[in-house]
C-alpha cells in the first residue's frame, strides 16, 4: 500500500492549517474582578443612623454616598464612597474640602476594590510554633491565648523603670486615632512604656525638630499658605509622587502667577517634582546641613534677616555635650555668637562640601529669594530619615525664624507627613515610647499624673521612663550578641503586638530582625487585613476591618482631624481593634487577678479600669458607638487644656465639616468654623490670645506657648520665644568609600503605598508597578555597562538585592548615587535587606536615605513577575506562600 502524492499534499496542507489554527487559542480572561466577591444581591452597607442624618451622607445619581478620608498618604483628602446596589462601587473627591477641592490620585480613587478582596483575612489564625501551619480559632480562644502568652512574657522579663521588659506594642501611623490611643492606654495600664509605632521611621525627626524649635510638636500653618506664598522651598521631598494633590496646588499657583511664584527643589535626585522647579539644587547626599547653614550665613551677613522679629520673638540656643543636661533645652547664646558660628559656613565652603551643581552664586540667589519673599518650606523623609534629622529640621525652621517667614499668611515651615494618621494618631495620641497622649511626655511627672487622674487609675500606673525605641525594640527581639553589645543592658522582649503595619519589610537592615522573629521564644500577634511579610512570622493573626469598615479619626499634616464613619460591612468574623482591646482587656484582667505576684495582681484593676468606660458601648455597637465613646474620652478629657485640644471637635462637628477641624479647637464654636489655621498668632489662635492675657505679655503679636519654652527654669530672654538652634555640619553615618562607592537611597512611587500589601492587590495599579527597580545615573550605567532593564546586583555591608535597572536621561539620581523603591515584597527586591539601621541620637529615626553600596550588572533583562505574600491551604491548616518557598525564606 502507499499514500498517493496528492493525498499526502492534501493531508499535509490540512495539518498545516490546523496547526496554524491551534497556535492562537483565545482564552478569555477570568471575568471576576477584585472587590466583588460578595454574593450577588447582598447588601454590604452598614451606615449608622447618626451618619444618615448628617451632611456626610447623600443619595445622588443612583448612588448612595458616604463621606470619609482617603486611606493613604498624609495629605488627608476628603472622599465620598459611593454604593451601587448595596456594594461599594466608586470613590470621588469632596469638592468643598479645603484640602483637595475634589481632586484625588489613583490610589485614592481605587481603594474601594479592596473591600471583599479574595485575599482578605476573615478569621483569627493561630499556631503554637512558627514551623506549624495556622489553624482557625475563635475570638474567645484567641483572647485567652494572648492573655496567657502576655503574662508568660511578663514573668520571663522583669520590672524596670520603663515597666515590664518582656512585652511590647508596635503600632502604626495608619491606625485610627482611637485605636492608637486605646492600645497605648492598655499597654501603659498593663505597665510598660514599650509602646512604639512606625512613625518612628517617618516622622520622629520632625517631632524632634518642632519640639526644639517651637517647644511643642507640629507646624504653625497649613496648606492654605501655598496659595499666598511667593516661594516654595522643597527639600528632601518628592511631592509630585508622594503628595500629588499638594503638588497640583503648588503647580497651579505657579501657573496663576507667572514670574511671581518660584519653586526651589533641593534634592540629590532629579525627581518628577523637579519638573516644576525654577531652581534645582543638586547636592551630594548627606551634605544638607552645610547647605542650610550657608543659606543662613548669607541671610545674616547680607542683613536680610527680619531684625524686629528676631529680636522680639526669637532666642538662640546651642546644645553642648557635657555642659547641658537636657538636649531639648541646651543653653542660650547671643546673636553675636550665632554670627560667629555661621562665619565658617560661607557659600564657597558649602559649595565645596555639597558638590553636585551647587555654586556659591546659587546659594546666594536662593538665600536672597528666601529672605525677601513669603516662603513656605516643605520636606519629608529626605530630611527626617537621617542620622542628624532633628538638626536638619531645626536648620530649615531657623531660616524661617531668621527671615520672619512664619506665623503669617503664605509663610510656614511645613513638614509633610507620610502616613495618614502619624500626626493625629501617634504624635498626638501618644503612640511612641517617650510621649503620652495630648502632647504629654513620659518623663514629666506632672504629665503622667494628670493622665492617671483622667483615666481613673492609681498614681504611678504609668512607668516613669521611656521604653525602647523602634530599632532597640526590634533588637531586643532578635537579641543577638551584636545587639547586646550595641545596646548595653538590653532586656529581651518575648511578646509583641503589631497593629496594621509590616515592620519586617519596612525596618532598615531587616534581615537580622527577621531572623529574630523566626525564633519560637517570641510570641507575635499581628492585626492585619491582608497577609504580609510580617504575618509570615506571626503566631496569631487577628483579622481586622479595612478603612470605612470601622469608625475613627485621621489627623493629617496640618493639624487637621477628619472622621471616617463605618459604611461597609466587614467580611467574615473581622472585629474592629477597639472591640478587640476592650474584650481582651477584660479577659486579661480576670487572668491577672489569679496571679500570685502582687505587682501583677494589682494590675488587674488598672487594666479593667482602662476599658471600663467602653464596655457597654462595645456590647451595644462596636462599629460606631464604641469609637465615639473612645473619641469622647480622648478629645473631651485627654486633650482638653493641652495645646492640641480637640475638645470642640465632637463626632457631630466632624460629620458636619467638609474638611475636618484643625486644632487648637477648644470649643464647639471654634471647631464648627474649622478650628485654628494659624498657631501662635495673637488674635488668630485662641490659645495664644488667652496665653498673652494670662501672662501679661502686652504688645506681643506672636507668642510661643509651647510647653518646653515656658518652663520656669528658663532665662526670661528665651521664654515664650521661638528658638534658633546652632547646629554644625555633620556627614552621614556611612559615607561611600572605595569598597562601596555608591550612595543608596530609597523612596516611594506614586501608585504604590509603602509595603504594597494594599495597592499591590489593586490590579490596575499593580499592572503598572509589578516590581521595584533601581534608578541609575546614565553616566554610571554607561561606565558599568548596564542597560535599561538589566538585573543589577546591589550589595551593601548588610545584604544584597537583585533589581532591574531603569536609566533615564532627564530624571534620576546624581552621579554616584542609586535610588530604589521599597514597596516590592519579593525577597531579592526588598531593599531593606540593604539599608542601614544607624539612627538619629535625638529622634532615634533610622537613616534610610543614605548608605554605601556597590552595584554591578547581574544578568540581562528578563521578565519579572509581581510577588505578593498570600495564604495557601496546606495539610492541617494555612501557610504563607513565602514559607513554602525556600527562595523566599
Amino acid at each position: 500500500m502507499g499514500i498517493g502524492r496528492r493525498d499526502f499534499l492534501k493531508k499535509s496542507a490540512a495539518l498545516t492549517a490546523a496547526s496554524l489554527v491551534g497556535i492562537n487559542l483565545n482564552i478569555k480572561k477570568d471575568g471576576v474582578t477584585l472587590g466583588e466577591s460578595a454574593s450577588a444581591g447582598e447588601n454590604l452597607m452598614r451606615i449608622p443612623e447618626e451618619v444618615k442624618n448628617s451632611p456626610a451622607y447623600k443619595q445622588e445619581g443612583g448612588y448612595t454616598w458616604v463621606r470619609g478620608v482617603c486611606r493613604f498618604c498624609g495629605t488627608g483628602c476628603k472622599v465620598w464612597l459611593g454604593f451601587k446596589d448595596g456594594k461599594p462601587a466608586v470613590i470621588r473627591g469632596e469638592r468643598n474640602s479645603a484640602i483637595n477641592f475634589g481632586f484625588l490620585c489613583m490610589k485614592g480613587m481605587l481603594f474601594y476594590k479592596l473591600f471583599r478582596h479574595p485575599d482578605r483575612l476573615t478569621q483569627p489564625l493561630y499556631r503554637k510554633s512558627k514551623k506549624e501551619p495556622f489553624r482557625p480559632i475563635s475570638w474567645e480562644k484567641a483572647y485567652e491565648i494572648i492573655a496567657d502568652e502576655m503574662i508568660k512574657a511578663i514573668k520571663k522579663g522583669e520590672w524596670t523603670p520603663y515597666g515590664w521588659s518582656g512585652i511590647a506594642y508596635y503600632g502604626s501611623g495608619q491606625a485610627l486615632t482611637e485605636e492608637t490611643y486605646l492600645f497605648q492606654k492598655l499597654f501603659r495600664c498593663i505597665g510598660t512604656n514599650n509602646v512604639e509605632g512606625n512613625p518612628r521611621l517617618c516622622m520622629a525627626s520632625a517631632v524632634g525638630g518642632y519640639l526644639t524649635s517651637f517647644g511643642t510638636d507640629e507646624p504653625a500653618g497649613g496648606y492654605a499658605d501655598f496659595d499666598k506664598a511667593q516661594t516654595i522651598f522643597i527639600i528632601g521631598s518628592n511631592t509630585a509622587e508622594c503628595h500629588p494633590i499638594l503638588y497640583r496646588r503648588i503647580m497651579h499657583n505657579k501657573l496663576k502667577n507667572p514670574g511671581g511664584y518660584m519653586v526651589i527643589n533641593v534634592d540629590p535626585r532629579i525627581s518628577p517634582t523637579s519638573k516644576i522647579a525654577d531652581i534645582h539644587m543638586q547636592f551630594k547626599p548627606g551634605t544638607d546641613l552645610a547647605l542650610l547653614n550657608a543659606l543662613a550665613h548669607v541671610i545674616v551677613n547680607e542683613g536680610l534677616y527680619d531684625k524686629e522679629f528676631v529680636s522680639k520673638y526669637c532666642a538662640f540656643h546651642i546644645y553642648t555635650k557635657g555642659r547641658d543636661k537636657n538636649p531639648l533645652l541646651g543653653h542660650q547664646v547671643s546673636f553675636e555668637e550665632y554670627k560667629r558660628f555661621l562665619s565658617k559656613y560661607t557659600p564657597e565652603y558649602a559649595a565645596q562640601i555639597c558638590g553636585g551643581n551647587i555654586t556659591p552664586e546659587m546659594i546666594r540667589k536662593v538665600a536672597r529669594r528666601f529672605a525677601t519673599t513669603r516662603t513656605v518650606s516643605i520636606w519629608t523623609m529626605g530630611l527626617n530619615q537621617r542620622t542628624r534629622g532633628v538638626w536638619v529640621n531645626n536648620l530649615v525652621t531657623n531660616l524661617h525664624l531668621l527671615t520672619g517667614n512664619i506665623c503669617k499668611d503664605g509663610a510656614d515651615a511645613l513638614s509633610l507627613t507620610g502616613q495618614p494618621n502619624a500626626c493625629g494618631g501617634v504624635r498626638e495620641g501618644g503612640g511612641l515610647c517617650h510621649i503620652l497622649p495630648g502632647h504629654r511626655i513620659v518623663k514629666s511627672k506632672e504629665d503622667r499624673e494628670s493622665l492617671e487622674k483622667i483615666w481613673g487609675v492609681p498614681k504611678g500606673t504609668i512607668p516613669p521612663k521611656p521604653g525602647y525605641h523602634t530599632v532597640k525594640m526590634f533588637s531586643a527581639i532578635s537579641y543577638t550578641e551584636q545587639d547586646r553589645k550595641r545596646f548595653p543592658g538590653l532586656k529581651p522582649i518575648h511578646f509583641i503586638w503589631i497593629e496594621e503595619t509590616s515592620p519586617l519589610q519596612s525596618l532598615p537592615n531587616v534581615r537580622r530582625f527577621r531572623e529574630g522573629f523566626a525564633r519560637d521564644d517570641v510570641f507575635v500577634v499581628v492585626n492585619e487585613i491582608f497577609p504580609t511579610r510580617t504575618t509570615e512570622f506571626a503566631n496569631l493573626i487577628l483579622p481586622t476591618p479595612f478603612h470605612f469598615e470601622k469608625t475613627g479619626v485621621y489627623g493629617c499634616t496640618e493639624r487637621r482631624s477628619q472622621l471616617t464613619p463605618v459604611a461597609v460591612k466587614a467580611p467574615g468574623s473581622c472585629r474592629p481593634e477597639l472591640q478587640i482591646i476592650v474584650e481582651f482587656a477584660q479577659v486579661l484582667a480576670k487572668k491577672l487577678k489569679r496571679e500570685r505576684d502582687p505587682r501583677l495582681r494589682a494590675r488587674a484593676h488598672t487594666v479593667y479600669q482602662c476599658v471600663a468606660p467602653f464596655i457597654e458601648a462595645a456590647k451595644k455597637d462596636p462599629w460606631w458607638e464604641l469609637a465615639k465613646a473612645v473619641w469622647t474620652e480622648y478629645a473631651q478629657h485627654v486633650t482638653k487644656g493641652r495645646d492640641s485640644t480637640l475638645a470642640g471637635a465632637t463626632y457631630e462637628v466632624l460629620l458636619e465639616r467638609p474638611d475636618g477641624v484643625q486644632w487648637p479647637a477648644p470649643t464647639v464654636e471654634i471647631a464648627r468654623k474649622g478650628g485654628t489655621l494659624r498657631r501662635f498668632v495673637v488674635g488668630k489662635d485662641p490659645l495664644a490670645t488667652e496665653f498673652v492675657k494670662k501672662h501679661h505679655l502686652e504688645g506681643w503679636e506672636v507668642v510661643d506657648y509651647g510647653h518646653l519654652h515656658c518652663l520656669p527654669t528658663l532665662p526670661p530672654e528665651s521664654r515664650y520665644r521661638f528658638w534658633i538652634w546652632l547646629r554644625p555640619y555633620k556627614g552621614p553615618a556611612e559615607p561611600p568609600d572605595a569598597e562601596y562607592p555608591f550612595v543608596l537611597s530609597t523612596g516611594r512611587v506614586i501608585d504604590m503605598w509603602h509595603t504594597a500589601s494594599m495597592t499591590g492587590r489593586i490590579l490596575e495599579l499593580a499592572s503598572d508597578y509589578p516590581y521595584a527597580w533601581v534608578e541609575i545615573n546614565p553616566k554610571d550605567a554607561q561606565r558599568l555597562g548596564i542597560q535599561p532593564g538589566d538585573l543589577v546586583l546591589i550589595e551593601t555591608r548588610r545584604g544584597k538585592n537583585i533589581i532591574p535597572a531603569r536609566i533615564s536621561t532627564d530624571e534620576g539620581p546624581m552621579e554616584g548615587m542609586v535610588f530604589v523603591y521599597w514597596y516590592d515584597q519579593e525577597k531579592h527586591r526588598m531593599i531593606n535587606f540593604c539599608t542601614l539601621d544607624a539612627f538619629d541620637p535625638g529622634s532615634k529615626q533610622p537613616e534610610f536615605k543614605i548608605c554605601a553600596c556597590r552595584i554591578k550588572k547581574y544578568a540581562p533583562a528578563q521578565p519579572l513577575k509581581q510577588y505578593l505574600v498570600k495564604l495557601v491551604k496546606v495539610k492541617g491548616g494555612y501557610l504563607h506562600n513565602a514559607e513554602l518557598d525556600p527562595n523566599e525564606r
Binding site: 492534501k10 496542507a13 490540512a14 495539518l15 492549517a17 490546523a18 496554524l20 489554527v21 497556535i23 492562537n24 459611593g82 451601587k84 462601587a89 466608586v90 470621588r92 473627591g93 469638592r95 483637595n100 477641592f101 475634589g102 481632586f103 484625588l104 490620585c105 489613583m106 480613587m109 481605587l110 476594590k113 500629588p244 494633590i245 497640583r248 503647580m251 497651579h252 501657573l255 518628577p272 519638573k275 512611587v749 506614586i750 501608585d751 490596575e764 495599579l765 499592572s767 503598572d768 532593564g789 532627564d810 530624571e811 533583562a861 528578563q862 521578565p863
Partner: protein, 226 residues
Amino acid sequence: MEKKRATEERRKFLKVTLGAFLSGALTSSCDLSRLKNPKTMVKSPIGPNILRPPGAVPEEHFAQKCIRCGRCGEVCPYHCIKYFDVKDGGVFSGTPYVNVMEKPCYLCMKCVYVCPTGSLVPCAKEDVRMGVAVINRQICVTWQQDKTGLMCKTCFSVCPFSGVAIKIDHDFRPYIVEEYCTGCGICAYSCIADTWYENNGKKAITIMPIKWKKIKEIKLEDIKKS
C-alpha cells in the same frame, strides 16, 4: 486565436480548481462559519490595538515576506507576540502581532534580531513605530477632571519615553507627541480610565497602526483621519 482562447480557458480552469483545492483544504481543518467575514481572507487584520511587532516592514509587504517561522514569538520574553489565526485573516494566518490590550510590547528588541527574512528590521528602541497612541479626551479621567476630580498620571509614568512621547500639561492632562510615540502600547494597556464608574469599562488610549513611510512626517491631522 483559438489557441489563445484555449489558454485562457485552461488558466480559468486552473484558477477555479486551485480555489476549490484551497477552500477544500481549509474547510477540512476548520469550520468556515468561524470566519467573521469572508473578506478577512485578504484584508489585513491589523487595526486599532492589534499591531505588528517592532521594526515590521509595511503591512502590504509583510504577509509576503514573513515565512511564519515563529521565532519572534519564541524569543519574546514577555510572551506578547501572538500569531494570527486563519479566522482572523486567511492569508495573514501565522503572521505575528501584538495585542496591546492583552500584553503590550516592552521594546526589548529581541524579536527583530531573530527574524530570518527581514520582515522585522533591526532598529533602535526609539525608532520603533508600531503605531501611535491616541487619547480619547472624553474618556480620559484627567481630561475630564472637572467631572471626575482625578489626577491620573499613569500613562505618563509608565511610558518608556515619558516626558518625550507623552507629556503632561499644567493640569496633568496627558498628550501624545506623535513624532516620538513608538506605539508600544504600554500606556493603553495601563490606562485605568475603565475603572471610573461613568466610563463603562472603556479605556482612554488606543494605539492606531500607522504606515511605515509616514513615520517621520506624520501629523496630527492624519491620526485624526485614521
